[in-house]
Symmetry: C2
Subunit: 648 residues, 2 copies
């Protein structure tokens, strides 16, 4: 760890000076799947919530939690290597302490009955206490059928073939015998499939099912397997890798899983990863192997849970930011970091799973959706596909807000994109009491006579998350605690206007004015939770960059903001943000509320659409081809719009 | 060895009953290459022949032999692992005995000054004695320019690119920057090439040379490398793997090498190899790895000798019989052995060197020319290409005689092929005193009052090779020693017609009549060398099968044999056969001598043509597509023609 750590620090220091630093959103990591368990049952009750479930004797607590649909964090998929699935037993003598537990649990935790849920096998009825955690990762797009309005037409097609065995009068080669029976022309020869074809044909008495991906023959399966056909969709985030297993016959999501991106080891943000990759081919390979290894773990668990063979997964669609796409493919991302931010490719890339070492059908294709630019990746294309920006009438604005804000403005037959380093304020980073959207985070703020807070998990607040911050500042603007320029009211005549409770909360802090959101007596750590003048400036920089980007897109399209017919807020953040507050701080164009819609993980939805419909996948390439990327750093007017957009 | 040996025997025994056994030609193995050596010289003289050459001090005797253009057998390319490069020193104290020499040389050989040529480093002027060996492997097509009448137009093309570096106004991805500068459309994205592209472009200051194979980008090389471009042609025989290194700019052969097919370990003939492969995927992989490993050795030596990097070899063309093509590609050949002799593929196969583990440019393509049927392989397509059977006017018959006889009859807009198990008689196998065409083999026989022999290397005869056998029997027919039915004259009234010398040579042997070719006093081993009645029957079966095949082709084309305008005899055997004798035993249609031409290794020539001309390579596929294969075993009339063709 220290070797890589040292390398980063040095390189990071150097690189940061060379190029704008871009950071990425962080989500809580989760891993969830479903299973119905039968026979030899024990009863397990989860507290709080009092959820009871019957599971097979010998199941782990983690499996029971899955069956009960209560969330238990797990990174390693039950291997006992991450130590995340901590739960507390009501009855403390289940089975002996495992090595993994010795490693991950403190003595006091062990004495309090904490165990790792994956390490404990249920032999009798058990009561388990969970510290319930709200996490910011939306399950909205989890198990629903995203194909409702998309005709199911994947590029994968299966054909059952009942072939005539060869004779001395009919010496057609095996490959040609199969090929000629298929309704597709120009099937290219595949050496590795041909290698074992003779045995399969004869073992199956020449009754086989061919798996085609467009005109490519991927596999020949014994007998009739028409009813089984699976694909995988993967959204590679800098922080989280999320995967969705889909049934290609029904177009339904049958399961999903997520994992912290194992590249975290080489740094939390894309710049750290790029810096590591730039050390040379071995370092690049390390990064690639990390993400592919993590994905293989997810695949293994999904296959086990849903009782399928990895070889029944025929195709994978990948979305991610441009850096993640490069690293996943093992392509040198070095020159994405410094200006002029040059990617190596932009087209959709198709490689075999075999070439990448991804453990699905080896001849199955892994398709990375096209990218637009160095900081507008295939995840943005996914958003465009899911929101149909290219097909909606009027003007559509889609924004994916994270550390980077990626924006699409579509209309008048054009699709414009830009990207801006929004800054980490929206994740709570660089905010004095900022934190991720986890339990104890202030997520809603109301200011009237005094301040009212809503805290995730209803416990004493520990800090404030991005949506809470926007809420707080919107309320402070509304109540006059800060003025349009973002200055906290401090003059006596200003203070005189507030209620005594509010007046108390405005004070001179260590580094300028600050506003107390929660008093020490009410907080988790016994300190006042405040928003500082500097915190407000950080948010202004972030939202100013986004609004400036939007304004430049509007100018490029020669429209004004009132002509925007709809705004889509994509990403987990967009799901939690209060629209009124976003408008309140002028993060978004000043439009009627009903024109603004949060749409969740649209990037992932776009990838699912690309998997179940080859026509939609081709549309993704069309969108990428026609998309006009506006490089904000090349725009002389960006600075002006930026400054103009700082005010509330 | 014993494990595999046992497996074979069992399986061989079983399989042989199921299907006709086909065996393959065996050639002497050789390994030769050329090099000019300069500086710090020592003089080396080779006896007999008195050839003197100056080579660098520290060179091996093997290298000196190469420089002197004297042939020294070597299988392992100078690694000291085959023990074949035995030579004798005039001066016996060069350097100490190496381990390899201890292993491969007997004590008496060591005491006589025998050494391994690859193990001895030349430090002073030296005289070396070689036992000169004539071998049957034709060098005719070795180093000459085979491209004389073929326009040089390989599918490999290089383009020097002087690109503009990217700027913030010109953010074209690296791949697209290269792609857009090339004169070819629709270049597919190549992940592995893209992986390292950014570094190469910037290190070369965006001055690079692109290597294209049709519309595929194979490599981006730093700077201007337009003058260097190489390809390889490989003829994979069951017995010998021969490779030719070619300069794609000039179309010239720049070097060559050959090696005993390392699959020999698993049996000498195709049926043994198929039986081994049919044991399972691991056994198949073993066979594939053997031939690819051997080929990699040849490539390594060729690269060293001709001072090029393996990555400068951009393409490989492979010809071989159908079984060899399957094994090279790692494709299960099991069902080639039993009727109905079904291959897995017939089209030309193109795979990357990377996929096969062949050590040229990893993205370079290895192209196996198309095959026609289970026993008419890409070597036959090579013959067709080299002889231009598809473009010559009139009727052309091309025959490649080995253990199998492959025949092409072209004319009237059609190309017919057939294959017949000619039997091993032409290699001297199953002939009492039969042997390969090596030193001591009777290669020509003249019968007048007595018998005159010509023996390879002018030593006492040890046996008789295929061409000698045909000669002998032709002369015996001509002189009346055997009659048209093949019976050796034995009745007193018949014997009375001969000279006393001939009469003495006709006698009753252990198993019927026999004819003495050489008396014990004149032979190497002190035994009479005879041709038995059984030997003659063996030859009759072999030549009868070939003539029957030709007759069926003639019937299929609805012509008689006199309409054949030309006959090409391909293969090493064809080079050594005396045309008069071939006609004398009715191995060939009865045509004027001038219509019959021996053309050497036409299969290899065809592969060279396919390498230097993409148009010719496509023609190979056209020929394979239009070729009509006549499966003789499905013809009821074959047996009749066969019996009819047995007579002389």
């Amino acid at each position: 760890m220290s070797i890589f750590g040292n390398n980063y620090d040095t390189i990071d220091g150097t690189r940061v000076k060379k190029s704008p630093v871009r950071l990425e959103m962080s989500y809580d990591l989760i891993f969830f799947f479903r299973e119905e368990i039968v026979m030899d049952k024990v009863k397990v009750t989860f507290l709080p919530g009092n959820k009871t479930v019957s599971v097979s004797k010998g199941s782990t607590i983690l499996q029971a939690a899955i069956a009960a649909d209560v969330k238990v964090e797990s990174n390693c998929g039950g291997k006992g290597t991450c130590g995340k699935c901590k739960v507390q037993l009501a009855d403390r003598n289940l089975t002996p302490i495992s090595k993994a537990e010795e490693k991950f649990l403190s003595k006091s935790e062990l004495s309090e009955g904490f165990v790792l849920a994956c390490q404990r096998f249920l032999e009798e009825d058990t009561v388990i206490s969970l510290r319930e955690q709200k996490d910011s990762f939306s399950r909205k797009t989890g198990l629903k059928n995203i194909a409702e309005d998309i005709p199911i037409n994947p590029s994968i097609a299966k054909h059952f073939l009942n072939l005539n065995p060869p004779t001395i009068e009919d010496q057609l080669p095996d490959w040609d015998r199969v090929k000629n029976a298929l309704p597709v022309k120009d099937i290219p020869f595949d050496r590795s499939l041909a290698a074992s074809l003779p045995g399969i044909l004869r073992k199956s008495k020449f009754k086989v099912t061919a798996v085609l991906d467009e005109n490519e023959l991927l596999a020949i399966e014994s007998g009739d397997t028409m009813d089984r056909s699976f694909g995988l969709v993967v959204d590679i985030g800098t922080t989280t890798v999320a995967a969705y297993l889909m049934d290609l016959n029904s177009g339904r999501v049958v399961g999903n899983g997520a994992l912290t991106n194992p590249q975290q080891f080489f740094g939390a943000d894309v710049i750290s990863r790029i810096n590591h990759a730039s050390l040379g081919p071995d370092a690049l390979l390390q990064l690639q192997e990390k993400v592919i290894g993590g994905l293989n773990n997810i695949i293994e668990v999904l296959c086990k849970e849903h009782r399928l063979k990895a070889e029944e997964i025929y195709q994978v669609i990948i979305v991610g930011n441009t850096t993640m796409s490069h690293l996943f493919l093992g392509i040198d991302p070095t020159y994405l970091a410094p200006a002029p931010f040059i990617p190596v490719f932009h087209e959709s890339v198709k490689v075999t799973a075999r070439e990448l070492g991804l453990k699905i059908l080896p001849s199955g294709k892994v398709i990375v959706l096209p990218i637009v630019a160095g900081y507008v990746g295939s995840d943005t294309i996914g958003v465009a596909l899911a929101t149909k920006v290219d097909r909606l009438s009027g003007i559509t604005l889609a924004i994916d807000i994270g550390t980077n804000g990626e924006m699409i403005l579509a209309g008048k037959g054009r699709i414009l994109t830009c990207s801006t380093a929004a800054g980490p304020a929206f994740e709570g980073a660089q905010i004095k009491y900022g934190m991720r959207a986890a339990e104890g985070a202030i997520e809603e703020v109301t200011i009237t006579e005094d301040v009212e807070l809503k805290v995730i998990a209803n416990i004493k607040p520990k800090g404030i998350c991005g949506s809470g911050l926007i809420d707080a500042i919107s309320e402070m603007v509304h109540s006059g605690v800060i003025d349009e320029s973002g200055r906290i009211a401090g003059e006596p005549e200003e203070l005189a206007m507030f209620s005594p409770q509010l007046r108390d909360r405005i004070r001179e802090g260590e580094s300028g004015m600050e506003f107390v959101l929660a008093w020490s007596k009410d907080t988790e750590n016994g300190q006042d939770i405040v928003l500082t003048q500097k915190d407000i400036r950080e948010l202004q920089l972030a939202k100013g960059a986004i609004m400036a980007g939007i304004k430049i897109l509007l100018i490029e399209m020669e429209i004004d903001e009132q002509q925007i017919d709809r705004v889509f807020l994509a990403g987990a953040f967009g799901n939690y943000i209060k629209k009124e507050s976003a408008l309140g701080i002028k993060l978004l164009p000043n439009l009627p509320l009903e024109r603004i819609t949060a749409i969740g993980n649209a990037a992932g939805d776009g990838a699912k659409i690309a998997l179940i419909s080859v026509a939609e996948r081709k549309r993704a390439s069309d969108i990428a081809r026609v998309a006009e990327h506006i490089e904000l750093s090349s725009r002389r007017d960006f600075q002006d719009f930026f400054l103009e957009s700082l005010s509330f």
